[in-house]
Symmetry: C2
Subunit: 217 residues, 2 copies
C-alpha cells in the first residue's frame, strides 16, 4: 500500500462497516474514521457522502483519491495491497470455501435483515414493528442455520477456516452482533457462537465493535 492515508466512511452499527473495521484492525492499518449520517438522509452531510458513493450505502474506503465501495470488495483490496497477515488461505479451494462462507452472510443474511428492508416492510407494506422484528429474526435464523451446517460440514478449527481469522470471520462476527441485537438465540448455532467468542478475545475484533466507534449511540 503506497499511500498510507485511508479514510473509512462508516456507521457504528452497520454490519458491512463492522466487517471492514475488523479487516483494517487485523491488517493493523491506521485509518481516519468518518461517521456517515445514514439516519439523516436529507442532510447536507449525507448528500456529500452520496456524491462520494453513488450507491448511498456504507461503508466506503477512500485511498489516495480512489473510492472503494462494498465491504467484500474493500476487504479483498486490503488483502491484496497489505499482504500480512493474509485473510485468505494459500490454496484455491480454501479461498473458495472462505469466500463462500463470507457470501453466506453477505448475500444470504445481511441484505434481508437490514434497516432499509425492515423500513420498507413497515412504511410500504403497512407492517408493525413487531412484524419487522420477526422478519429480521426469521432471516437471521435461516441464514445462521445454513452457515452452521456449512461450518460443520467441512474442516473448521478455531476460526471459520483454520486457526487464524479470514474474510469469513470478518463477516461472521458482525452478523453475530446483529443477531444478538435483534434477540436471536444463538444456542442452535454452536460453531458460529464459538467462533464469535474466540474472535472477541482478539484486539482487532474488539476495536471494531459497534459500541467502541465514535458514532456509537
Amino acid at each position: 500500500m503506497k499511500d498510507g492515508r485511508l479514510r473509512l466512511y462508516s456507521v457504528a452499527t452497520s454490519s458491512a462497516s463492522h466487517r471492514v473495521r475488523i479487516a483494517l484492525g487485523l491488517k493493523a492499518v491506521p485509518y481516519e474514521y468518518v461517521a456517515v449520517p445514514l439516519f439523516a438522509q436529507d442532510s447536507e452531510e449525507f448528500a456529500a457522502y452520496r456524491a462520494l458513493n453513488p450507491q448511498g450505502l456504507v461503508p466506503a474506503l477512500v485511498h489516495g483519491g480512489a473510492v472503494i465501495t462494498q465491504s467484500l470488495a474493500i476487504i479483498e483490496y486490503l488483502d491484496e495491497t497489505v499482504r500480512s497477515p493474509p485473510l485468505l488461505p494459500a490454496d484455491a479451494l480454501g479461498r473458495a470455501r472462505v469466500r463462500a462462507l463470507a457470501q453466506a452472510v453477505v448475500s444470504e443474511i445481511q441484505p434481508l435483515q437490514n434497516l432499509r428492508v425492515e423500513r420498507h416492510l413497515r412504511t410500504a407494506l403497512g407492517h408493525s414493528e413487531a412484524d419487522g422484528l420477526a422478519w429480521r429474526r426469521h432471516w437471521i435464523n435461516v441464514g445462521l442455520a445454513a452457515l452452521e451446517r456449512m461450518l460443520q460440514a467441512s474442516a473448521t478449527a478455531s476460526f471459520c477456516h483454520g486457526d487464524t481469522p479470514t474474510i469469513a470471520d470478518c463477516c461472521l462476527v458482525p452478523q453475530v452482533f446483529a443477531a444478538r441485537r435483534w434477540g436471536v438465540d444463538l444456542a442452535p448455532f454452536p460453531t458460529v457462537a464459538a467462533i464469535a467468542e474466540r474472535a472477541g478475545t482478539l484486539q482487532a475484533f474488539r476495536d471494531a465493535e459497534p459500541q467502541r466507534q465514535p458514532d456509537a449511540r
Copy 2:
C-alpha cells in the same frame, strides 16, 4: 485446472446459476449440467443435493471431489484456476471496482427479489401475489438505479469495466434477465441495458441463458 471434470448443479432460472454458467462459457470450460429440483424440496433428489450442499441453495460446482458453493466464490475459483481469459482486471483498484459492481447485484438486489423471499411474504405474512410482484420490482428498481449510478460515476466502456467481460458482467446480465422476467422497465437504466445487450452478442452469454438450459420450462 488439473482435473477437467466439472459438474454444475444448476437451476435454469436461477440468477446465481446463470452467473456461473456465463463464467464457465467465457472460460470455455466444458462441464456436466445437473438440474437441481429446487421446486420439489421434499423429493429424494433434493435431499441428495442438500447432502452435497448443506446450504440447499444453487449453484454448486463439483470439481474433482470438492464441492464449491456460492456463485461469486465459484467464479473467483474459476478465474484463479483457469487463467484465460481473465475475469478480473490486472490492477487492484480495477478488481475492487469489478467486485463492488458484482456485490451491488449479488448482495443488494438478488437476495431481496428471489423466490424464497417472495414466498415468505405470501405464506408467512399473508401477502398477495401482486404484493409479491411489487416487492420484487421495488428492489430490482432500487438496486438497478444504484448500479446505474455506479456505472456512470466512473470508467465504463463496452462492458462494466473495460471492453471485455468481467465478473461484474457475469452478475449484471442475469439480473437484467430477472428484471425483464418480472416486468421491470429498463429505460431508466440505459448503461445497464446497453451492457446486457452487448453481452447478448457473445456466444458464452447466449449459451448461459435460462431458456437454453436442459431444465428450462
